[in-house]
């Protein structure tokens, strides 16, 4: 094999997608990268449309731009106008911008509205070998399909609207292998929390994460989305899984997926975008699935995580550079170093978000909560990630199971993940949450406390009223 051929044969998916979408090299060395799919929502787009207007520019590819409304929508009283006038102004602004520029809007009355990172995949808009950008850091979710997907700021939303490109430097690639079978009661959420715990919240700086190994091979498409979703919590702006039959079967027949002969051609192309077997990585790390137990956060960033049966770490056991943050975390979380977190009282349980608000999440928990009751001391809400997820779940009888167990069954949106809508923590409530961030104030109360965990662990906490091991509560062996 000559060297050119070897170079071609040993590319990562990132290399291939980058090469296909690199428009040109900019004077400062950045790539002008074509963004094939632009997803927009109400929070980070209005200012971008404003800038576009100020510059007298139009949307270059309105047909490659898709909108939904998620962050600010109430999940209970959804009639417009919203009682929150600021939220109402935001949905109206998005509606007008989409109308003015001819952009497809999965609006509230459409029956297809939902969290942007759930809507894109379920509509079949998210496809392998594509580039995707959205003014939201959890855009890495779409990498589960073998897309290169970036969270971007509002000025870059403007750039993509006006030019369908953005200026960006090619990241390095770290291959993260997880091999083997997860133990019963251990989920994709535990895998990504474990990875972030091991590599740190800034370990991914400058990297794209390529997830692989037999654990990922066996994962469903939705499990892969859960992992890719939280790449940014490890500092990696991009995370992806190579596309395979699991990916293709998920996409088959979806609204925006290719049809007929186009489908076969697309699958052939998609297969070819996967990393070559001899692809060269800038770094490789490998974990054993059997080593991972249900994992929860104890602190104020997603890297401050432990297995459910571990104690909150002592400051002396934390690397010196992380000690000040650990001290801040003990104080904020009202936890004692060296003591178990299990048994800590919980006031709120939140099942939803772009991390864990998909149908499979709701199905998995429903299997276990039949006949169980939410503790009287806990407010528990289930927020389907999209209207499509909600209607499917309702048709399968899941909503009834949740309601019977004492959960509130809500409408689709970001809800309590981030406190931009009426679903917020109050005071120092502790929330068992299936979401992605446990930053101070994240869930809408400056003193509110967030403990991240898998959906089933949220259900266990809801039922017992305290942080619990779901394997014990639901007799999972």
């Amino acid at each position: 094999m000559d060297s050119i051929q070897r170079t071609i044969m040993s590319q990562t998916l990132l290399d291939k997608v980058w090469a296909a979408h690199a428009v040109r090299t900019l004077p400062n060395g950045s790539t002008q990268l074509l963004i094939g799919t632009h997803l927009i929502h109400e929070v980070t787009s209005p200012q971008a449309f404003g800038m576009l207007g100020d510059l007298g520019l139009k949307v270059l590819y309105p047909s490659r731009t898709f909108a939904t409304v998620d962050h600010i929508v109430p999940t209970d009283e959804r009639q417009e106008p919203f009682s929150d006038t600021l939220a109402d102004a935001m949905i109206k602004a998005l509606r007008k911008n989409c109308d003015d520029h001819g952009i497809k809007f999965f609006d509230l009355p459409s029956g297809q509205q939902g969290i942007v990172h759930i809507v894109g995949p379920e509509q079949g808009i998210t496809q392998p070998g594509t580039t995707i950008a959205c003014g939201d850091s959890h855009t890495s979710t779409h990498g589960a399909f073998g897309a290169i997907a970036f969270g971007i700021g509002t000025s870059q939303v403007r750039d993509v609207l006006a030019t369908q490109t953005m200026a960006i430097r090619k990241p390095k690639v770290r291959r993260i292998n997880v091999n083997g079978k997860l133990s019963p009661g251990v989920y994709a959420k535990d895998v990504i929390l474990h990875i972030i715990r091991k590599l740190g919240v800034n370990g991914g700086l400058g990297y794209a994460y390529e997830y692989g190994g037999t654990t990922f091979d066996a994962f469903t498409q939705e499990e892969r989305m859960t992992v890719c979703n939280m790449s940014i919590e490890g500092g990696a702006r991009v995370g992806y899984v190579n596309p395979d039959n699991t990916t293709f079967e998920y996409l088959r027949g979806r609204n925006y997926a290719p049809k007929g002969a186009d489908w076969d051609a697309a699958v052939a192309r998609w297969k070819a975008t996967a990393s070559d077997p001899d692809a060269v990585y800038d770094d490789v790390v490998t974990y054993d699935a059997a080593d991972i137990a249900p994992t929860i956060t104890w602190g104020i960033n997603p890297g401050q995580a432990i297995f459910i049966n571990e104690n909150v770490p002592l400051a002396s056991d934390v690397p010196e550079k992380d000690r000040a943050t650990a001290e801040e975390a003990y104080a904020h979380m009202q936890l004692t170093a060296g003591k178990p977190i299990k048994g800590t009282k919980v006031q709120v349980a939140f099942l939803g978000s772009c991390t864990n608000g998909r149908l499979s999440d709701l199905q998995e928990v429903a299997r276990y909560i039949k006949g169980r009751k939410v503790s009287s001391s806990v407010k528990a809400i289930v927020v389907p990630g999209s209207q499509s997820v909600a209607s499917l779940a309702e048709s399968m009888g899941l909503a009834e199971i949740y309601r019977d167990a004492g959960f509130e069954w809500r409408g689709a949106g970001c809800s309590m993940c981030l406190g931009m809508n009426p679903d917020k923590l109050v005071g120092d409530q502790l929330c068992a949450s299936s979401s992605n961030r446990n930053f101070k104030g994240r869930q809408g109360s400056p003193t509110g406390r967030t403990v991240l965990m898998s959906p089933l662990m949220v259900a266990a906490a809801a039922i017992t009223g305290e942080i619990s091991d779901a394997r014990e509560i639901f007799d999972i062996k």
């Binding site: 962050h71 850091s137 800034n202």
Partner: protein, 200 residues
């Protein structure tokens, strides 16, 4: 679109200690209910400032000694979390013109450069040394020199650097990429035409 060439920025400093200060900390999400960035300055570090006040303390950004400071110093992984441009916008509108930290989260960094707000890296030791000088002399004038890659205060120089592409973008007045990107539109169409999913 000619932009200012940002070769240096001068002003007084303020030190907000801490590692992993995330964008929810810089501006809590509930203040992002807006359709313009106007007025975001008052929400910079809103909860941290309120919490300090509630405990009878004064957050550095509310400390009258540092009023008008334009160079913010902090710890490592500054700006991690959300992609919200509201975070650098809030700092900029508060009056901050440069951020110095041990390291920056990637999206925050890019968003800041696009606003023409340099984010320079200094060692933790140097940042703490500068913080001590600011503490003893809040009026001390600080200059971040992007051409020389140094930060000067009280007759002392410290290495303060940006990655070459960001440094060049600022000093050549190309920190907002839109003009460059617009120049490539013909190439964009050519590239898009080769991709089946964009033609469909």
């Amino acid at each position: 679109m000619a932009l200012e060439k940002i070769t240096q920025t001068s002003g007084r400093g303020v030190y907000v200690p801490g590692d992993d200060l995330d964008t929810d900390r810089v501006i809590p999400a509930r203040f992002m209910k807006c359709i313009t960035f106007d007025g975001l300055g008052e929400f910079a570090f809103f909860d941290a400032r309120a919490a300090a006040k509630a405990e009878g303390q004064t957050h550095p950004l509310d400390d009258s000694r540092f009023t008008g400071a334009s160079i913010l110093f902090s710890g490592s992984n500054f700006g991690c979390g959300s992609s919200r441009e509201h975070a650098p916008q809030a700092l900029y509108r508060f009056g901050i013109r440069a951020v110095i930290a041990e390291s920056f989260a990637e999206i925050f960094f890019g968003n800041s450069i696009t606003l023409g707000m340099p984010c320079a890296v200094m060692s933790g030791q140097d940042i703490r040394a500068v913080a001590q000088i600011i503490e003893s002399d809040p009026e001390a004038l600080i200059t971040l020199d992007l051409l020389e890659g140094k930060l000067s205060i009280a007759d002392m120089d410290f290495p303060a650097t940006l990655p070459p592409h960001a440094q060049e973008a600022l000093v050549t007045g190309k920190w907002d990429a839109i003009a460059d990107l617009l120049e490539g539109i013909a190439d964009v169409r050519t590239c898009a035409a080769k991709l089946p999913y964009m033609a469909a």
